[in-house]
């Protein structure tokens, strides 16, 4: 058996061919085929602002604690209907995730429509959910001595805000929350046909 493999270059070549073939079969071809999945009827591409918010979600690594993948299981019913292939057509990089230290966010825009709640929660999760282990994202906000006209002031619960001044939203927090708001599942039965 090993006699034929005593030339190191044939070992290299044979294993490269076998693995290369498997990589095409199990990686490249599924990738190519599934990349063509058409979007779920009624779903919309992200707006520029939502796209920017999505980039923040990716760079802050929210996916390490949050899935966007509702399974057809009873325990996932609270998060929405089971996800389907077309739900991910606009999602590159994909954010399905492998870990649920926090809840699934596939349909968070539908489940938690309050922008104000999202801002307060991002500033300090423990101000709204005691016992949360989610990090706070205070750097997505600005602290000012006094709100200027046009500023969106975040009503931080007492004890969780800065000792002086007010917390206002920034482009970053507005982008991220607009992305979270956009996370709404489209119904599979109702067609948004014209």
């Amino acid at each position: 058996m090993n006699r034929g493999m005593n030339n190191v270059w044939s070992l290299v070549l044979v294993s490269a061919i076998i693995y290369g073939a498997l990589a095409i079969l199990m990686g490249v071809v599924p990738g190519m085929v599934l990349s063509r999945t058409p979007p779920t009827v009624g779903s919309q591409p992200y707006t520029a602002q939502e796209e920017r918010g999505r980039d923040i979600y990716v760079s802050e690594g929210c996916e390490y604690c949050h899935t966007q993948n509702v399974r057809p299981l009873k325990q996932d019913e609270v998060f929405g209907r089971p996800s389907t292939a077309g739900d991910y057509a606009y999602d590159t990089p994909e954010l399905l995730g492998d870990h649920r230290n926090g809840p699934d966010l596939t349909n968070i825009g539908g489940r938690q429509p309050s922008k104000i709640w999202q801002y307060i929660h991002l500033w300090e999760p423990r101000s709204v959910v005691h016992g949360s282990i989610m990090p706070r994202y205070t750097w997505l906000f600005a602290v000012k001595p006094k709100a200027d006209p046009g500023d969106e002031v975040v009503p931080i619960p007492s004890g969780f805000g800065p000792t002086k001044g007010v917390v206002v939203t920034t482009t970053q927090s507005r982008d991220l929350v607009s992305y979270l708001e956009s996370l709404k599942q489209v119904s599979l039965t109702k067609r948004t046909g014209k």
Binding site: A16, P30, Y64
Partner: protein
């Protein structure tokens, strides 16, 4: 302090020794740094409001921990050892040493750039183990190609007739990984769900076709060497090689069970996850039978206890992976901390312990400098108790988490229920980190510390040189 078997010194070329030492010191630095990060992460579970600057936030540091342990620590340690093993089994020095030096530079550069970019929030997506941006991945890929070339050339110039089984595995790892990296880097066919399919493929192949192959290669060399007895069965080793090669690439989709990936694709992954029992059990049996009735030798050795634990976790962690792949159990365990336990059983219990075993087995023979017996014992016990407590805590905690979801409790109930187990993990992690500091001290003793004796290397006679 010095036992007879440890005083043996390889007749290795001084530059090969310097090369091996440099790889291991680099790797040790990355182990210390990235597990300090891991430790900080584990304390962020009980203390989320601790170290809250963006550069120390959970989402950024987690990718630094995983990519750093993979590509800084494990890859550099295993590549350096594999190069040294290739030279020893070939009966010659490393053929093109500059290739290996350049490779080490690439590995380190990639790990530095990767760490910095991730900390700035620049990544390819939160896709595990390929978060580095494309140009960092290419620097790393270059490192793999250069190390691989150094090994293949050395083996090609060997004076021994047969390619030793350990080189089958290492060369395999160095051939598969560039192919895998290219599949993962090319963006053209990775849109939406298509990227999910590639991610499943990539994630499992990175551990299965790279770390597993290198670690098995090192075990196939170190075990017979330390026991002074041939490997139990060459045929089992070859069987393990081919079955690993054919089964492993198919199991990736088991990370996305119940997702919208085609159902048959997931089923195929589950079937082959069961098939993985063949190479795992063949390998374990081969190692166990090689060690049979040598308990006394194991106890006296610095390196063998690490290899015994490594082989035990190879068996346990991989078998656990097969069990986890069944749909009935995935409904409970998937997405919970149970899977974090699995990752550490395999990447720590198996891969990291084998790397340590290989280092303690070969580095003293290369440099002629011994580690401290006491320090080695402490390293071994802290790391073994630490990782075992880590895995047990998260296996229980993860199961409770999954059951809380199945019971339909509010989400935060699962967080509260898992909290004590996350604290236990942080305690276990502290013990592991302590072990790494002790290991670093031993690496210092084996490399940079002033040596007890002068170099006694003599160039081998031309022609058929003796294997070291």
């Amino acid at each position: 302090m010095k036992s007879a078997s440890l005083a043996i010194r390889d007749n290795a070329e001084p530059e090969d020794v310097a090369l091996f030492s440099s790889f291991i010191t680099s790797a040790t630095f990355w182990l210390l740094f990235t597990t300090a990060v891991g430790l900080l992460l584990s304390f962020k579970f009980p203390y989320p409001d601790w170290a809250t600057s963006p550069f120390l936030s959970f989402g950024r540091l987690r990718a630094i921990h995983t990519n750093g342990t993979f590509y800084g620590w494990a890859s550099i340690a295993l590549s350096g050892t594999a190069i040294y093993v290739a030279a020893r089994t070939s009966g010659i020095g490393v053929s093109n040493k500059w290739l290996a030096w350049l490779s080490l530079a690439c590995y380190n550069l990639a790990a530095i750039c990767g760490t910095i970019t991730l900390d700035l929030g620049i990544n390819y997506g939160d896709q595990e183990y390929r978060e580095w941006v494309w140009w960092v991945k290419i620097i790393f890929l270059l490192g793999v190609l250069l190390s691989g070339l150094a090994i293949v050339q050395t083996v090609a110039n060997r004076v021994e007739r047969e390619i030793y089984i350990s080189n089958w595995y290492t060369i395999g790892g160095f051939v598969f990984t560039p192919i895998l990296a290219i599949v993962a880097i090319i963006p053209a066919y990775q849109v939406g769900l298509g990227q999910v399919a590639v991610q499943g493929f990539y994630m499992h192949n990175a551990v299965g076709m790279w770390f597993t192959f290198l670690a098995l290669g090192i075990t196939y060399y170190a075990l017979p060497k330390l026991l002074n007895r041939p490997i139990y069965s060459y045929a089992l080793g070859v069987l393990g090689f081919w079955t690993n090669l054919v089964f492993y690439p198919v199991i990736g989709a088991h990370h996305f069970e119940f997702s919208p990936l085609p159902w048959w694709f997931q089923t195929l992954a589950i079937v082959f996850s069961v098939g993985m029992l063949v190479p795992v059990w063949a390998g374990t049996a081969n190692f166990a039978l090689t060690m049979r009735a040598r308990g006394e030798t194991v106890r006296r050795s610095y390196a063998l206890p690490f290899i015994v634990v490594g082989v035990a976790y190879y068996f346990l962690g991989s078998t656990q992976g097969t069990v986890e792949a069944f749909r009935s159990l995935q409904t409970i365990w998937h997405f919970t901390s149970f899977t974090i336990g699995h990752s550490h059983a395999t990447m720590y219990g198996f891969i990291t312990f084998i790397a340590w075993g290989g280092i303690y087995a070969l580095l003293p023979r290369a440099t002629g400098k011994q580690p401290s017996l006491l320090a080695t014992g402490l390293h071994f016990w802290f790391a073994t108790i630490g990782v075992t407590a880590y895995v047990i805590a998260l296996s229980i905690g993860g199961t409770i988490q999954g059951l809380a979801w199945a019971a339909g409790n509010p989400f935060i109930a699962s967080v509260d229920a898992a909290a004590p187990f996350w604290v236990a993990r942080a305690v276990a992690g502290s013990l592991m980190f302590l072990a790494h500091i002790i290991f670093a001290y031993n690496v210092y003793l084996m490399t940079l510390a002033p040596g007890p004796e002068s170099d006694h290397w003599e160039p081998p006679k031309r022609g058929k040189a003796a294997t070291a």
